[in-house]
Amino acid sequence: MQGYLSLWDEYGGQMLSAFWGNLQLTFWAAIGSLVLGTILALMRISPVPSFRAFGTSYVNIFRNTPLTIIMTFGVLVLFGVFKVQFSSDFNLNFFQIAIVGLTIYHSAFVCEAIRSGVNTVPLGQAEAARAIGLSFMPAARLVILPQAFRGAIAPLGNVLIALIKNTTVAVAGSVAEISGLMKTMLEFRADVGILIFLTIAVFFVIVVIPVGLLTTYLSKKLAVAR
């Protein structure tokens, strides 16, 4: 117990700020992948074959690529080889590369979650929209997507939960976040090793459980009555 308290004395502040980093990664990557995922979903349901092909290829490529590889690619190839730099600040640059990596990866899953939502919308809704003279984009924006999002809340929640936990992979991109700190702590405080694991697990559980409860609640509350 004494040892664990001294861990907090030593690393408490760092743990909180590192975990705050994970939450920031989550926040920006969630917004990014929601936007990109929606665009991809629109492509996949669009009447234009080349758009559909692009959307399908994107999903199949990035859904099947390990996140660690995307992350290291960002740092070692985009930054290391091609000198792509989002920011002159070294740490901020890695942080932003990590956001891009997380976004690219998770937008494939967001796309599929939204597409599962689109499948909850009966075909007749799209036909009725077309019949009153709406072309693809207005029909998608006004009729299909509003219903699809409401049918996709639960799967989108799952993607968000996966994203929260996957921010730990940003350690592969040299971002100061909690799993990187965990490694450091384990090295210097092996005496409380198991407690370090548990503490960090609890950090995530505290954030993830409400997300799960909220999305379950919302998916029932906002379900479209038919």
């Binding site: 019949a131 709406l134 072309s135 219903q147 009555a225």
Partner: protein, 258 residues
């Protein structure tokens, strides 16, 4: 055939609102529409009858290109239906459609269902669209439900809203694809009465239905389809009292008992 060059006089009354010529469609092996020719003039009410699987719903759905066709042409008020894009959307706005399963926008209120088309497809002002929608909802008798969601209404009420939604686009022709087939018996009449009212006001209508009463009461012309072909075309009187084809006789014979 240069039907494009119509003079003014021809345009006004003689140009059919809907014209199908040599329309063919296959579902795989099934030749569901076989060389269909049909002209519907302004103000005419055409009822399409026939056994299920005869292609009558498909015929109805090709007219605003919810179903594509393999060959032939379909014209709305003298304009050939384009294949895709903005022009098609524009032409569809001129064709009102009422579906068997109502298809009201489930996430929008009754009023929004009716105003969506005028506002978003025609660029009408919201206040103006609201006024138009209320008038139409009044006319189909569901104005008092305007703030509810579709799922809160009965089937008959939903279908009347769907008719109002189609009318809000001020269509040149209304298509009805088995509008009463999904309704409980006691709700069929409220929808049919609305349709009879429309017919009397001179709306051009193409109605696919199993309601022989409606055909007798409101139709100017009856088209009988079987196996993807138009088998018989006549006045309702003629069709019901003196059908010519064996298929039509057989079809009507099975109805009498019910």
């Amino acid at each position: 055939m240069s039907t494009d060059s119509h003079s003014n006089s021809a345009k006004s009354d003689l140009t059919p609102i809907v014209r199908l010529s040599a329309v063919n469609k296959h579902y795989g092996q099934l030749h569901v529409l076989q060389n269909i020719n049909l002209e519907v003039t302004k103000g005419e009410v055409v009822v399409v009858l026939g056994p299920s699987g005869s292609g009558k719903s498909t015929l109805c759905r090709t007219i605003n290109r919810l179903e594509t066709i393999d060959s032939g042409t379909i014209e709305i008020d003298g304009k050939v239906l384009p294949e895709e894009g903005k022009m098609l959307a524009k032409l569809r706005a001129d064709v009102g459609m009422v579906f068997q399963s109502f298809n009201l926008f489930a996430h929008k209120t009754i009023l929004e269902n009716v105003t969506l088309g005028p506002i978003k497809a025609k660029g009408m002002k919201k206040s103006e669209a609201d006024k138009l929608a209320l008038t139409l909802l009044e006319r189909v008798g569901v104005a008092n439900q305007k703030d509810k969601l579709p799922a809160q209404l009965s089937g008959g009420q939903q279908q009347r809203v769907a008719i109002a939604r189609a009318l809000a686009m001020r269509p040149k022709v209304m298509l009805f694809d088995e509008p009463t087939s999904a309704l409980d018996p006691e709700m069929i009449n409220e929808v049919l009465d609305t349709m009879v009212g429309l017919a009397k006001e001179g709306m051009t209508m193409i109605v696919v239905t199993h309601e022989m009463g409606f055909a007798r009461k409101a139709a100017d012309r009856v088209i009988f389809m079987a196996d993807g072909q138009i088998v018989e075309e006549s006045t309702p009187d003629q069709f019901f009292t003196n059908p010519q084809s064996a298929r039509a006789k057989d079809f009507l014979g099975k109805l009498i008992t019910s």
